[in-house]
Symmetry: C2
Subunit: 318 residues, 2 copies
């Protein structure tokens, strides 16, 4: 019988796991073609607008396979409900059978996404980060910064949000966690003062243009995971010194890079896969002047890795 775990149990185990290393290992498997990851499943809703992503697959010769479901219904804010929900399903690669259900309510998707941001920063962030700029005052805007703690030595944040209410909420949470937080409703306040920028919104129009980006800046764009979403000017993708995709096949179909790829502003051989920069140091940031961009659309291998590690942690503590 499948073992079922709830969010509080999952969070307790997460605190003991080295998530960033697990995600890093996953991206290496992925870029070494040691995974079987079919195309992302997607259900689009119109009334109210929403989306559900199904990501699934396995690492070859491993014991497990994973199916992950994560939802995004942004109008839930008006109902005072969380905008995301989800669960992780762990199965046996040997018998096909269901082993465990992690009722993570979307949290593991948030965490594995933030951990990918940390892996990116490890190899692409400038040596000296002056200030971290965050677009999006939601949970991902928090986690992306919190997961940088072990990677980047900077506690100074400026955050952009849709309204002052959500910005105040963000500021309270992050200041309680030891950060110095400035808030803004002007995108230009971020690009003019930050050399590590994270975009974590479902925006459909870019926040800033190429000419606004300072030399030496690294940008991690992770909000765009569906056709039509767009957080940064496609010209930045065209002109950046290094453009990294968590998955080249996914990022050219959906996500930030696709907005440039579909307009032929960049070709596949100008994009480097995240797993490749982990393996090959020559593909990482080489100077303090380079502009680097990473596009994170979310790859099933992250869901596979975090689900396995959390499950193993859960059964260990039983």
């Amino acid at each position: 019988m499948a073992k079922i775990y709830h969010l509080d149990q999952i969070k307790a185990v997460l605190a003991k796991i080295d998530v960033i290393s697990a995600i890093e290992e996953g991206f290496v498997f992925y870029s070494q073609d040691k995974t079987v990851i079919p195309p992302v499943g997607e259900i689009i809703f119109e009334n109210p607008p929403g989306e559900t992503h199904i990501k699934y697959g396995y690492i070859k010769d491993d014991g497990y396979y994973v199916i992950k479901i994560a939802t995004g219904f942004y109008q839930n804010i008006e109902l005072d409900l969380p905008t995301s929900d989800g669960l992780m399903l762990l199965f046996s690669q040997k018998t096909g059978g269901l082993i465990s259900i992690l009722l993570d309510e979307g949290h593991l998707t948030n965490v594995r996404t933030a951990a990918a941001g940390a892996v990116v920063a490890k190899y692409l962030a400038p040596k000296k980060v002056n200030r971290i700029g965050v677009f999006g005052a939601g949970i991902q805007g928090q986690l992306q910064v919190q997961y940088l703690k072990s990677i980047v030595d900077c506690q100074d944040i400026v955050v952009w949000g849709l309204n002052q209410k959500e910005l105040d909420h963000y500021q309270n949470i992050m200041e309680a966690d030891g950060y110095q937080v400035k808030t803004t409703l002007q995108a230009s306040d971020i690009v003019s003062t930050c050399n590590l920028i994270i975009t974590a919104t479902p925006s459909k129009t870019p926040f800033f243009t190429l000419d606004q980006v300072k030399p030496g800046t690294h940008i991690t764009a992770m909000g765009a995971d569906t056709l039509g979403k767009n957080e940064i000017d496609p010209m930045i993708i065209k002109s950046a010194d290094i453009v990294v995709a968590d998955s080249i096949s996914q990022c050219t179909e959906r996500g930030e890079i696709s907005n440039a790829f579909q307009r032929q502003l960049i070709s596949k051989d100008e994009i480097v896969e995240l797993g490749s920069i982990i393996i090959d140091p020559s593909l990482r940031r080489q100077s303090d002047d380079q502009i680097t961009v990473a596009d994170l659309t979310g790859v099933a291998v992250q869901d596979i890795q975090i689900t396995k590690k959390v499950y193993e942690g859960l059964i260990e503590t039983e």
Copy 2:
């Protein structure tokens, strides 16, 4: 918090539900374009061989959406384990949130497939069924016959299986349920004596050819749901008087019809969708001499309908 139900609870409720009508209604929605059903998700395994299907979608303006997972690992027989597992996930179309998990272990997939066979027989079976022939002595070979009970007035079966052991098992179960059962290891014993034939195996080579099929025969082929599977001669698809697909788009990509379609033995406009024959009587069997074939690959709308009805039954009995 999502409500979780187990197989015994699901089976108890199933007995009280008119599954055939629910599935019939679903096919009408589907063929009237009142559903949003993305392409089937599929994970293929090699060591050991196996497959997992993810089917999902929603009926427009309904309250729910459903994601169904069903596995097939045929070598599990050697481990004395069931060859299939699975679960049904019911979500809200209004908030995206998870409402319920039905841990059906693949049973609801088996039942909704058998119910589709009954819907097909309702409109395509010859008036007088002399004998029902079944390829496949597994659970689907049983359920396909049992779900015909309210549709077809014939208790006389001949069943083909891989070995006498599984045939004896089938015979015992079905005779206890009131059927007269003959068993055979020769495919020709079925086509020569039956005018309602069901194929319910994962075979990769056809069991019989066009010239063996008697006039007036109806064939329901439901074993082939993945590329490479093939239970009946593609020439039968080419020459049958009526060829019905549960989904034209799915059946031309996977399933029995695809084996003929890929070889250009049949075109899309020669295929009728199951929902269409439910709506339009002129598309059903018109004479006692016609040879009719239905290809069932399994459509998410079946999973949506059975999951909704079972869930509603479960909360009613609480």
